[in-house]
Every structure is written in structure tokens, then in C-alpha cells.
């Protein structure tokens, strides 16, 4: 009986590992002039953003493009570190890391440096000495937030009564996107927060939050949701109550991440604004590696271009190009 339980537990763990992704699709064979890269990323199921990010990387780091890439996905920092050590033992040429957590990487990065492996960080930063990595490609969440808030300011409303739906508290995206808005609200007397709640990236919870505001009878004219799912949930609540929104509506809806559906809502005029959080980092990475191979120097911190889309100006091409 106990044995069976133990066996089952083992099965659980194995499954859990499988669930964490194709555990390092091993690139054992030393390629013929191929550049060997080990890519450590977060779980592709985490969000549409991550899915797009992973797909982009997979499409770029191919044999055709001169790479032999091994991928590893985990949401757990320690698992990522363990895999990084393994990549170092496997003698990859480049280690590309999107770290789940910011701490604990020093020893591994030092080991990589000693082994002559070049480390490039993407998407997430690490609390480590800058000398330990070649470059870091990041989204500036604060900048994203600022772009969005500047856009909102440009609408020149008499008063701003804002429902602020936050992402999971403490995440970089939440901090950056909330920060810009908080600053603006504090600075302007006609900017009011009706409610500021976290819906933890979930459409369902966002809908509930907006519903509770509607039911309480408070007036509002802006919904600032920190991702598209939550904006969508908020829209569902407005629709149920028959409150108009979007281009010609009473309520401005703002979202982030540029999901295809979100951009389509913009195109239709259901939403007003969507901020990009650029998942397409492979191009940047490719560029840096090419430069390093040639022996050129690279910029230490590269902040990606991130757009904000407006329902007035968005085009069908934008949807196709930037939708994830």
C-alpha cells in the first residue's frame, strides 16, 4: 500500500517535470559550425505573452539560422538554476536566460564565465554583477505604463474616474504599469481612482470587480486593466449592464499585451488603447549573438521598442503583425 502511494508520488513528480516542458530537448551532438545555445525560459502556458515569446525563440533559433538550441521551461528559479548548471556542463556557447526569480544566480553565472560561456538575459533581469553577463534585453514596464498614461492624459477628459485593475501584486509588470498611473493620479486633482484592485491577471475576477462598482452605482469613465484578459472581463461586466465603451462609448477601456483579440477589439472600436509588452525578443538576441561572434561590443542593457495602440489609428496590418 505504502509502496503504491510512493510510486504514485514518483509518477506525480515525473508528470510534473513533463508538465514543466520538454525537459531540455537535448542538443548533445556537437554541431557542424552551429552555435550552441541553451535557452532557459518560463512556462509557455503562463500566458499568451509567454507563448508568443517561446514560439518566437523557437522560430529564430533553428538549424537553418545556424543555431543548435536546447530549451528548458520552468516557473521555478531553482529548477532553472539547476538546468543552467547542466547547460554549462554541456558546454553550450551561449546561455540565454529569462529568470523566474531575480536572486540566486551569482554562482551559476560565475561558473559560466569561467567556462567561457556567454550569458544573455532576456525579458527578466537578475540581481547580479553586470560583468557576469554580456547583455540584458528588457521590457521597461514603467515606460509601458508611462506610454499608456500619457495616451490617457492626451484624451483631455474633464475628470478621470478610473477603475484600476491590477495584475498579480508584486510582479514586474504590475509594479511598472501601476506606478505610472499612481503617479499621475497623485499629481492631478481631476484624476480619481474609483477602485484599485488586483484581479491577479484573471478575466473572471476583473469582471467581478467591475460588476461590484456598477452595482454600487458609482460613476466611472476609464478602465485601466493591466492585461488584456482583465480588460476583457471588465468589458463583459459593462456589456451585462448595458454600459457603452470604446471609441464612441462612455467608458474608455485600456489593456496591455497586444493579444490578437485585444487588437481586434481596438479595430472594432470596442476598446480604446492597448499597450504592447514586446515578446518578440529573439531578433534582439540573434543580433547580439551575431555581433559577439564577430567580436563587436554590444550595449549592456537593451530596452525594447514597445508600442501603444489607439483604436483611432490601429490598422489591420498592425493586428496581424503585433497580435500574439
Amino acid at each position: 500500500m505504502k509502496k503504491i502511494v510512493a510510486l504514485m508520488l514518483v509518477a506525480v513528480m515525473v508528470l510534473a517535470l513533463v508538465a514543466c516542458g520538454d525537459k531540455g530537448e537535448d542538443g548533445e551532438k556537437k554541431g557542424d559550425g552551429l552555435i550552441k545555445v541553451g535557452i532557459i525560459n518560463n512556462d509557455p502556458n503562463e500566458s499568451g505573452y509567454r507563448t508568443a515569446n517561446v514560439n518566437d525563440l523557437k522560430n529564430t533559433f533553428t538549424k537553418a539560422n545556424g543555431y543548435e538550441a536546447s530549451f528548458f521551461y520552468s516557473l521555478k528559479n531553482e529548477e532553472q538554476i539547476a538546468q543552467a548548471d547542466k547547460f554549462i556542463t554541456d558546454e553550450v556557447d551561449y546561455l540565454l536566460i529569462s529568470a523566474a526569480g531575480t536572486a540566486g544566480w551569482d554562482a551559476t553565472l560565475k561558473k559560466a564565465k569561467e567556462a567561457g560561456i556567454k550569458v544573455i538575459l532576456f525579458d527578466r533581469t537578475i540581481d547580479a554583477d553586470a560583468s557576469l553577463y554580456e547583455a540584458s534585453i528588457v521590457s521597461d514596464m514603467a515606460k509601458e505604463g508611462q506610454t499608456a498614461v500619457d495616451w490617457l492624459k492626451g484624451k483631455n477628459l474633464e475628470t478621470y474616474n478610473i477603475i484600476h485593475i491590477q495584475g498579480a501584486m508584486g510582479s514586474a509588470a504590475q509594479i511598472g504599469r501601476s506606478g505610472a498611473l499612481d503617479t499621475e493620479v497623485a499629481a492631478n486633482a481631476n484624476w480619481n481612482i474609483v477602485v484599485q484592485q488586483t484581479a491577479e491577471w484573471s478575466a473572471d475576477k476583473a469582471e467581478e470587480i467591475v460588476q461590484s462598482v456598477i452595482n454600487s452605482g458609482e460613476s466611472f469613465n476609464v478602465i485601466y486593466a493591466e492585461n488584456d484578459d482583465m480588460a476583457k472581463g471588465a468589458m463583459a461586466a459593462l456589456d451585462k449592464a448595458g454600459i457603452t465603451h470604446g471609441k464612441d462609448g462612455d467608458v474608455i477601456i485600456m489593456g496591455y499585451d497586444c493579444n490578437t483579440y485585444a487588437l481586434e477589439y481596438l479595430l472594432k472600436g470596442d476598446w480604446n488603447y492597448d499597450g504592447q509588452c514586446n515578446p518578440f525578443q529573439a531578433g534582439y538576441l540573434d543580433d547580439i549573438i551575431k555581433k559577439l561572434e564577430k567580436g563587436e561590443s554590444v550595449q549592456k542593457t537593451i530596452i525594447m521598442d514597445e508600442k501603444g495602440f489607439d483604436c483611432e489609428t490601429i490598422t489591420e496590418d498592425d493586428v496581424k503583425k503585433y497580435g500574439i
Binding site: 506525480v12 470587480i209 452595482n215 493579444n259
Partner: protein, 386 residues
């Protein structure tokens, strides 16, 4: 134990003994009160009343229900009370299945959140056909729902076999799908995020044109009726309790405990499929990692709030469902009061602590003693008056 005189004060016994000695006039009230006091419904009813009274005192407009057009011009009901029944639908439906599993297996299924993701993903996979975000349904929704049902019934069967046949503790057995379920859900759609633009797809999480009541409310009522009929016209309830209380003796009475446990998991699977449909219909898309997140804990809490023993045995689905709505009422109240939603789980934790404490034998005994003292005092006072 050999004697009849156990310290547990048996409600029926007490009633029988007390009833004749009371004057006829107050007898009814006393009996009703006594029955209430010992009923399983006590905790959820008191909790619900407490929350309702809080809202009534705090802000009577909480109870306002509006009737007005929604964005497509249909007149519909909105308001906090509607929100509670609308948003609480999934939890209430899950509570049905969770109660049965708890009763028969003496444990809980913690994979329901993940299997809701699987159901939702399967439904989307079918209705989206070969496109990722089709404008119309590529396959009939009923087909999608049936495939979703099959998928989660398979999950339920998997859990059921582990629990019933291999006799693994439910929490451990369902841990497998708890961990892997959301990845399976993502795999079903190859990590794509389908978005169904066909408005009919949104009916099940929103409104059917011409019907003023949110569809999840209607779906949940249908579920309650179905389960009530199942319990009325089959012997499942008795068997599930019997297996949960004493598996060995159930077997010797001709019941097949393995089959009963398996059936409860399959029923839970159907409940999960219904929840999956509502969830994906609500937003016409799915987020594999956040859909129905932590709902398993709420479902278990609903069962506990309903006064059901988490170790199995006697159960009341009514009480669990009421428990589910209490949780939703609490959530909605906290949203209305603009309590930070991150803190809502802390409030739920407080509820759990209170629950656990008042259902502890020590505290119950204390209450019983208190009651005896009070009644003695009252009797003495009565004598003096006489």
C-alpha cells in the same frame, strides 16, 4: 462502547425526551429551534444571515436589483444578488460533485481547477475547428461540450481508479492532475489562445437573448434539479454515505464500494465539464494558468462550510451549495467594500479558522454544557415563579 449513554447529545433523542414536558404553545418553536440548532444547515445559514445583515445595516442598496438593457439591447436583471448567483454558479455546481466525492471517498479532489481548464480547452478545441479564432462556431457547441465532458470524465475516471481501486488517498491521487492538468489543457490547443467571436458561444456565461436571467444561474438551477432527481430516484446517496462511513460493512451488504467511489468521481467530472463550459463561455477564450485558479480550495471550503465531515460519511448537498453561495456572498461583499482582493483569501482563512474551531468536539461539548446550565437556570427561575 457498550452503554447507550454516550456523551454526544443526540438531537432526536433529546427531542423525544423533551417534547412532552413542554407546554404545547412553545413546543413548536422549541422543536424548530432545536432542530435548527442541530441541523447541518446551521453553520451556512447563520453565516449567510450574518453577511446579509451586515450588508443590510451597512448599505441597503447592496440588495438593489436593476432591470435594464444590456449592450445588445435585451432587458436583463443586474445587481449584487444576481452577481452572487451568477458568479457563484461554478462553485455551487462543483460543490455538488465535491460533496459526493468527499462523502464516499473521505477525501477531496484537488484537481478540479486544472480539469476545468482541460474541459474548457477541449470545448474550445472542438468549436474552433481548424482556425484559432474563428468568427463562427466551426463545430456545434453541443459536440464541444460532449467532448469536454468526455475529457474530464476521463480525468474523473483516472482519479476514481486511483482512489477506488488502488486505494490511494484522494488528495494524493488528484495531485497528479492538479500538477499536470493545466499543461494538458494548454497542450490540447497546442498552447494557442483560441478566441471564439461567435456571439452564441457567449450565451452560456452571459445571457441568452430574450432571457433576463444570467445563463450560469439557469445552468446551476438545472444542475441542482438533476442532482436532486438523481438522489431522489436512485440509491446513490445512501450508498455513498454508507461507503464513506464503513466501507467493509457496505461491501458485506452487497454494495460495491469501488464502483460507488468511481461513480462519485465521474459525477464530479460532469460538474467540472459544466463549469468548464461556463468559464470559457464567459470570456470566449481561455487562460490556461488563471482559469478557475484556486477554485478547488473554495469548493472544499464550501463542503466544509456545509457542515459535511471532510472524512466522509453523512452529507448534505443543500448545505454545501449554500456554503458555496456564502463564499461568493463574502467575496462580493468584500469587493463592494473595496477590500483589496488580495486580502480576500485572508478573510476566507478567517472563516475557515472559525469553522474549524466551532466544529471541534471540544467547543461543541462546551456549548452543550452551557446549554444544560442555562436550561437548569431557567428551570430554577421557573420554579421560583411557580
Amino acid at each position: 462502547m457498550e452503554e447507550n449513554k454516550t456523551p454526544e447529545i443526540n438531537p432526536e433523542e433529546k427531542k423525544v425526551v423533551q417534547a412532552p414536558s413542554k407546554p404545547a404553545k412553545s413546543l413548536d418553536w422549541k422543536a424548530i429551534f432545536g432542530k435548527m440548532l442541530h441541523s447541518q444547515m446551521l453553520i451556512p445559514v447563520v453565516a449567510m444571515l450574518a453577511l446579509l445583515i451586515f450588508n443590510l445595516v451597512n448599505d441597503p442598496s447592496f440588495f438593489a436589483i436593476k432591470y435594464g438593457p444590456n449592450s445588445v439591447g435585451d432587458n436583463v436583471f443586474t445587481g449584487n444578488l444576481i452577481t452572487i448567483f451568477d458568479k457563484g454558479a461554478e462553485l455551487a455546481i462543483l460543490a455538488i460533485g465535491m460533496t459526493l466525492v468527499t462523502a464516499a471517498c473521505g477525501g477531496q479532489d484537488i484537481s478540479v481547477g486544472a480539469t476545468i481548464a482541460i474541459a474548457g480547452s477541449a470545448i474550445l478545441r472542438v468549436v474552433r475547428g481548424s482556425e484559432i479564432s474563428p468568427d463562427t462556431l466551426q463545430n456545434p457547441l453541443i459536440l464541444g461540450f460532449l467532448v469536454g465532458c468526455l475529457a474530464v470524465i476521463a480525468c474523473g475516471a483516472f482519479n476514481g481508479i486511483l482512489v477506488a481501486y488502488f486505494k490511494i488517498q484522494p488528495m494524493v491521487a488528484t495531485l497528479i492532475l492538479f500538477t499536470a492538468g493545466r499543461s494538458i489543457a494548454a497542450w490540447i490547443n497546442q498552447n494557442q489562445l483560441p478566441n471564439i467571436k461567435d456571439p452564441t458561444f457567449g450565451y452560456y456565461g452571459g445571457f441568452i437573448p430574450g432571457v433576463p436571467i444570467a445563463t450560469p444561474i439557469i445552468i446551476s438551477i438545472i444542475c441542482f434539479i438533476v442532482i436532486a432527481l438523481v438522489l431522489r430516484f436512485t440509491t446513490l446517496g445512501l450508498y455513498a454515505q454508507s461507503v464513506g462511513i464503513n466501507e467493509q460493512s457496505s461491501r458485506l451488504n452487497g454494495i460495491n464500494p469501488t464502483l460507488i467511489k468511481f461513480i462519485t468521481f465521474v459525477i464530479l467530472g460532469i460538474c467540472v465539464a459544466v463549469c468548464g463550459l461556463i468559464k470559457v463561455s464567459r470570456i470566449s477564450t481561455i487562460n490556461y494558468s488563471s482559469v478557475a485558479k484556486d477554485i478547488e480550495m473554495d469548493a472544499i471550503l464550501a463542503v466544509a462550510l456545509g457542515g459535511n465531515a471532510l472524512g466522509g460519511g453523512k452529507f448534505s448537498i443543500k448545505a454545501s451549495v449554500l456554503g458555496a453561495y456564502v463564499i461568493q456572498l463574502l467575496t462580493t461583499t468584500l469587493y463592494t467594500k473595496k477590500v483589496n482582493s488580495a486580502a480576500i483569501s485572508a478573510y476566507k482563512a478567517i472563516v475557515v479558522i472559525i469553522l474549524v474551531v466551532i466544529s471541534a468536539p471540544v467547543v461543541r461539548e462546551l456549548f452543550a454544557k452551557l446549554k444544560v446550565k442555562l436550561s437548569k437556570k431557567m428551570a430554577r427561575a421557573g420554579k421560583k415563579v411557580a
